[in-house]
């Protein structure tokens, strides 16, 4: 492949990684706000969090992406396409990950929370020092699934002409005509990136578990099924 075509690959890879990483970080923010919001004592906070998760889980991410790119400008805001991509992916994955946060927080044994209350911890200290350190360990394996789903969803941005890996592959296909080879290579590329992210998450899981004095069974292929 000529160096001109390789530059498409690098640009596409860069944008795909950018979309995945920033989509994940922003999605994490949405997930924690909505997930913790759903276990709030205030009804209106629970209500808003529930509406967010239900709506964005019921909405195809591609439609969301088109909505941000085509509908938002009619209200006078023009989003940067890459940012619109990150926002659409983050809103979508955040709604799924919010359920993970909610489940993990609910799974912390009640005795832990009672002990924190007995020790006169403030609600913030309770969350920060007791609930989250234990809940985060439980969140990481399902988050790995969410991250891979996010990586897969980044390919959608190619349909609104953002030059990610899939878009680059289309350009290369158009200029070389090597259809089967290009798409097969693209699939392998995504598979390798997914393995890379899975390995990083495995590392994070081990670090989080070690901070609680627990150990995690090793091995890369232990990804567990979580219902969509």
């Amino acid at each position: 492949m000529s160096s001109g075509l390789m530059s498409y690959v690098w640009e596409g890879l860069g944008n795909t990684l950018l979309l995945t990483v920033f989509g994940a970080l922003l999605g994490l923010v949405f997930a924690f706000i909505a997930g913790l919001g759903r276990s709030s004592e205030r009804t209106w906070v629970r209500g808003i969090a529930m509406v967010y998760t239900e709506i964005f889980r019921g909405f195809p991410s591609l439609v969301l992406l088109f909505a941000l790119i085509f509908i938002v400008p009619t209200f006078g805001y023009q989003l940067n396409p890459l940012f619109a991509g990150i926002l659409a992916l983050a809103l979508n994955i955040g709604a799924y990950a919010a359920e993970v946060v909610r489940g993990a927080v609910k799974a912390v044994p009640p005795g832990q929370i009672e002990a924190a209350i007995a020790l006169n911890f403030t609600p913030w200290q309770r969350l920060r020092k007791v609930v989250l350190p234990q809940a985060v360990v439980a969140m990481i394996p399902p988050f790995t699934n969410n991250l891979i789903e996010l990586l897969k969803a980044t390919s959608l941005v190619s349909l609104v002409y953002i030059s990610d890996l899939t878009f680059s592959a289309q350009l290369i296909r158009a200029s070389t005509g090597e259809t089967a080879l290009v798409f097969f290579g693209l699939l392998v590329g995504y598979g390798v990136i997914a393995l890379f992210f899975t390995a990083i998450m495995k590392l994070l899981e081990r670090m989080a578990a070690r901070s609680l004095g627990r150990t995690v069974p090793s091995g890369l292929f232990g990804r567990k099924e979580v219902a969509a």
Partner: protein, 219 residues
Amino acid sequence: MNFEWSGVWDAMPTMLDGLLVALAATGIGYVIALVLGLVFAFLRRSDNRWVSMPVGFLVEFIRSTPLLVQLFFFFYVLPLIGISASPLATGAFALGLHYATYTSEVYRSGIDGVPPGQWEAATALNLSTRRTWTNVILPQAIPRVVPALGNYVIAMFKDTPQLLAITVVEMLGGAIAIGSETFRYSEPIAAAGLVYLVVALLMAWVARVVERRYGQVRV
């Protein structure tokens, strides 16, 4: 440019045509996913490592790569090897294959959840392998996995807009077609989003009802 609600209603007839296409793709794809997923689950349990390992690898590979790229792959590559199918059929197949890797995991957890005593009892009663599966294991494994399988219908439905990339005109595709004629994209896209949201929420409600009725193991 302002947002005109009347444009949303004007797009609705096209949306209903698109909805039929989206439901057809979901339905055909779901049948493929249910059947192929069971096949994957069986093969992954095989005692022969030369069967279980490649199938396991294939399932993981399909599961970690984007559906959109798989759609492109089948759409462009199948004709090269002499298989010509309509875009809708190609799309439904790719959708079904993609979700078969998810359903196979669901079946696997359902089968693993059947107590070992049931297998031993089937052996003790000298049941054939086929009868062990059809009369003992699957009737106990499948009710367990109904809720998770229901969720995948909704997930598949929400992935149907991606079929527009291979020229299938479902709701989002229909919305873009209207936009390219009228130069107003926002209203038809909003209409598509509205229909997707309503149908997906409706499906979620049906899935919960089905789960309540059939989700228990009956002995």
